[in-house]
Symmetry: C2
Subunit: 379 residues, 2 copies
């Protein structure tokens, strides 16, 4: 039995061209070849996120970058708004509260987005809120939120906005400057297709000014030190060199395909997977679906078996639900370097598992719907 | 011109067997194969550090693990002792002060160790000190300190001890349990020979009790959460999967050679390099030298040129001085997977550079001394 291929919404499958870079002899980070690679990565991430803001790398998971944003963007006693509609958006609250920050949560059902109206009312009622923390694509539910609208409302209320783009960047157009996102956070093991361990943040002039005016104690996650080092191509501490070089290859691949084509490919894959899942009789879980991951609700009690069967019989590793959705949904990843053929492999495996588990009788409906969707989207 | 080979005291050259693991298709971290690898890594690190204490991984540089130790082992208002005799030991103070901790520094000249007597007197004078932070091998100067003696003295004064073993582990015998080190910190890109991005900490029952009684706010670096997750083979957040699998290969290689043989090899390499450097007329910088790195003082104004010439003409990348030692010393790394032949390559390149720069006339004295040292040590 060969190792299953990842169709998880991060870590995603790593393309061979990127894997190969990781086996090369290590170079030292205090050298021009490393600094050149680092600068190319930063410029590539600015291109991907459509921003002129400084971008910095942190050697950590996405959660580390979230904590970096919280500690640099708040002071003890601050009051912040957090949108909560899933496991990862809830993490903003958990981190902020750990630091004694008062959080005003704006909730939606898991599976739904928080609306701009909710955010507006909350900021109207709490004029002392200085920052809002939100989530572009909630990886635990596959819900996309309108962070561009959130940013307009936040700025109208003299608040800054920090967005978790960990699973949205590359899957969706992300226009940091046009939308006015003060801090946008990404994770390397998501749309950027490298193994986990390297996260990144774009930071606006207003965010830098806020950090300069006072923040929580921090050292490893000191973003002002990171911005200063990056001006010389350096990082304040030893970076995950191999992952930076992997990311250099990744941004080259994304530039070569063109970010518009990459996001269009994600839209086509996501649309086709949603059509296939619906044709197979499963209920789509997200009311405003992300193009990173499709969450679907199979008949009660079957989710775990579907995930296991797809992995063990078909070598296709998808994800199940997390936290209160454990055992209730399946999550089909299409974030990263996936082609139409890959989606067919994934849906074929899903069909096989559903038939085997007696959820559906007929084979072929999913793959047919997938194909029709691609034809209709002209991809 | 081929890429220079690393002879730097971290990152060190990564053996091919380890590089190869990094190019394999990625596996997901919430799976049994990952958990098995994680457990094997933890057990390997316990073997290397001779401890039964829990060991946890953090996806960060060594500095991140140092900060993790500070925030988990202190509360605001605490008073701590820090031994300072180089760039990295000074970092303990910088981190602690960032968190509002009162630090009592016990200094030595850069190049010398802090003595047990100094530590004893300071703890006598400051009975309210609850933790001491110290450094086993100071990478910036190549100085080894007697952390076993420090640990005895700390415990006699009802204080705990946190040691930075980032460049000592694997280069020297490290006996965490026998010596009584409450927290010992290591970095993957050092003796464990993997690329940077993964650090580790061993944590004693007394340290766990102290954390449980109160600590600084933290989330990503929450060591109690890490210990709890590790009991199931997990990490609290997405780990640097590729680096964990690289470390699995590394601990296998160290087990196969045997940790006693590995530390003996480091002692033989370090002794031979010290003999060679002395024979070449350079002054050894450290009065109690570490087996991780040999710091040497060449004639004034030549250090930078020696480093550059060795890299550009001989493909041998050593390190220069840092902070106030910049341009004053050279640092020859022998931490990691280096053989007698590698040391000959490094010393040969040093000799070549010294002759070219007119520092020495005669070629051969360094390599001769190196050979004699190996013969005398019977290796």
């Amino acid at each position: 039995m060969k190792q299953a291929k990842l169709f998880t919404p991060g870590p995603t499958a790593v393309p061979t061209e990127i894997l190969e870079t990781m086996a090369r002899p290590l170079i030292h980070h205090r050298t021009e070849p490393f600094r050149d690679a680092h600068r190319e990565v930063i410029e590539g991430l600015q291109y991907i996120m459509q921003t002129k803001n400084p971008v910095v790398l942190v050697t950590s998971s996405g959660t580390g970058a979230m904590e970096a944003a919280v500690v640099n963007m708040t002071q003890p006693g601050d009051k912040v708004l957090v949108t909560v509609n899933g496991k990862f958006s809830n993490r903003w609250s958990l981190i902020a509260r750990r630091y004694g920050i008062e959080t005003v949560e704006v909730d939606a059902e898991w599976g739904d987005p928080v609306t701009p109206d909710q955010v507006e009312r909350t900021l109207d009622d709490n004029p002392e809120i200085s920052v809002m923390f939100t989530t572009h694509s909630e990886t635990s539910t596959g819900v996309l939120q309108d962070v561009a609208a959130f940013a307009r409302i936040a700025h109208d209320h003299d608040a800054l906005i920090v967005a978790d783009g960990i699973s949205s960047i590359v899957a969706h157009p992300v226009c940091v400057d046009e939308w006015g996102l003060d801090v946008m956070i990404g994770g390397g093991q998501k749309g950027v297709m490298i193994p986990p361990g390297l996260a990144y943040l774009s930071i606006s002039p207003a965010a830098i000014a806020k950090m300069g005016a006072g923040r929580q104690p921090c050292y490893y996650f000191d973003l002002m030190a990171a911005i200063k080092s990056a001006e010389n191509g350096d990082t304040p501490y030893t970076p995950a060199i191999t992952l930076v070089l992997a990311m250099q290859q990744a941004v080259r691949m994304i530039r070569e395909e063109g970010i518009e084509n990459v996001t269009a490919r994600h839209a086509a894959n996501a649309g086709a997977v949603r059509a296939a899942v619906t044709a197979l009789g499963l209920e789509l879980f997200a009311s405003t679906p992300s193009n990173a991951v499709t969450a679907a609700r199979p008949p009660e009690g079957t989710a775990g078996e579907i995930v296991n069967t797809m992995e063990q019989k078909y070598g296709v590793k998808i994800a199940g639900g997390q936290a209160k959705l454990k055992g209730k949904i399946i999550r089909l990843g299409h974030l990263g370097c996936y082609s139409r053929d890959d989606m067919q492999t994934m849906i074929g495996a899903l069909e096989g598992a559903l038939v085997e588990l007696g959820v559906t009788k007929e084979i072929g409906a999913g793959v047919d719907a997938l194909r029709r969707s691609y034809e209709e989207s002209g991809s």
